[in-house]
Symmetry: C2
Amino acid sequence: MLIEIPARRGKAVRLRRGQSVRVVNTRGQQVVDTWAFVADDIAEFMSMEHSRVAIGRIIPGIGDSMVTNRRRPILTLIADNSGGIHDTLFAACDRWRYELLGCAGYHDNCTDNLAAALAELGLVPPETPAPLNLFMNIPVVDGNRVEIRPPVSTPGSYVTLRAEADCIVAFSACPQDIVPINGLALQPTEAHFDVLD
Amino acid sequence: MLIEIPARRGKAVRLRRGQSVRVVNTRGQQVVDTWAFVADDIAEFMSMEHSRVAIGRIIPGIGDSMVTNRRRPILTLIADNSGGIHDTLFAACDRWRYELLGCAGYHDNCTDNLAAALAELGLVPPETPAPLNLFMNIPVVDGNRVEIRPPVSTPGSYVTLRAEADCIVAFSACPQDIVPINGLALQPTEAHFDVLD
């Protein structure tokens, strides 16, 4: 059953070890910030800085297991027909990001979406870990410079992540509409996921 | 006055806004994990995932300001004669890193060194942020693969970081002696720093 991640909003789901979640880029150009927390101790969570060490690259490929801040596997990328471009380098957007981009009032942001998604499950994030930014296109050019580019993914393309531990996975359909992270149209959209046994 | 960061150990110092700290790679091949916390609220700290967004690259160059998890400047790189190779991608080493590398007993590690350095000042780190790994050589090859290489720095070379806020800066002379992060000799050494007004 496809569950909606509404445009500009977050959504979390519990996974048992061995279950998978398929994250669908419904409209094709939507970045989905993704976090995972160990079910019985959310102080242990998927960590990009530990995962880069574990997988030996900055973008996970099929078969790569992201690890927690205790270096234990938590999510393995088992399928990807989106073009294989994701980001592990950039922080989740937050109120300060949008203030710096010139927004006067409140702007939806992935950091608050994570907190809201976990709150629906009665949980409080211990911190805001750097997310696995699915479909986000941040190439490292000349070994150093990072660029912000539109996604290469197409409508209906997806990635599938298998849980290596009982965990809570949280998503945010990134509300960025000032830089072209979510496509040149600057139009954040909904995305979807379903849980596979 | 040069202060020693003993081999395999951590050390922290308070900086006032406008002061700088010069970090000296005394023997030339020693990685120094570096953190910064805002003095009056250590829940705000230097963040690599926010800094990469702010500076538009994965390795800071002269003039670049690292920012906090609230996206405020905290440390600016104002001098560097070490070859300009540093790392923002890898987590601090920790007990789990050395367990995975096959160490049977306890191994000194940068995560515990951060906690010990702050404890000397009566502080507890709110978490272990991803460090600015000075002198650490982790190139991104072909835009994706990360490699572990010895430092390019030479004995006595240094970087200078200016405080953009009153802060606590913590260092760890990385005790890694299994992979050649601290040189092909696999011999962690001391490093030094001094505070410049």
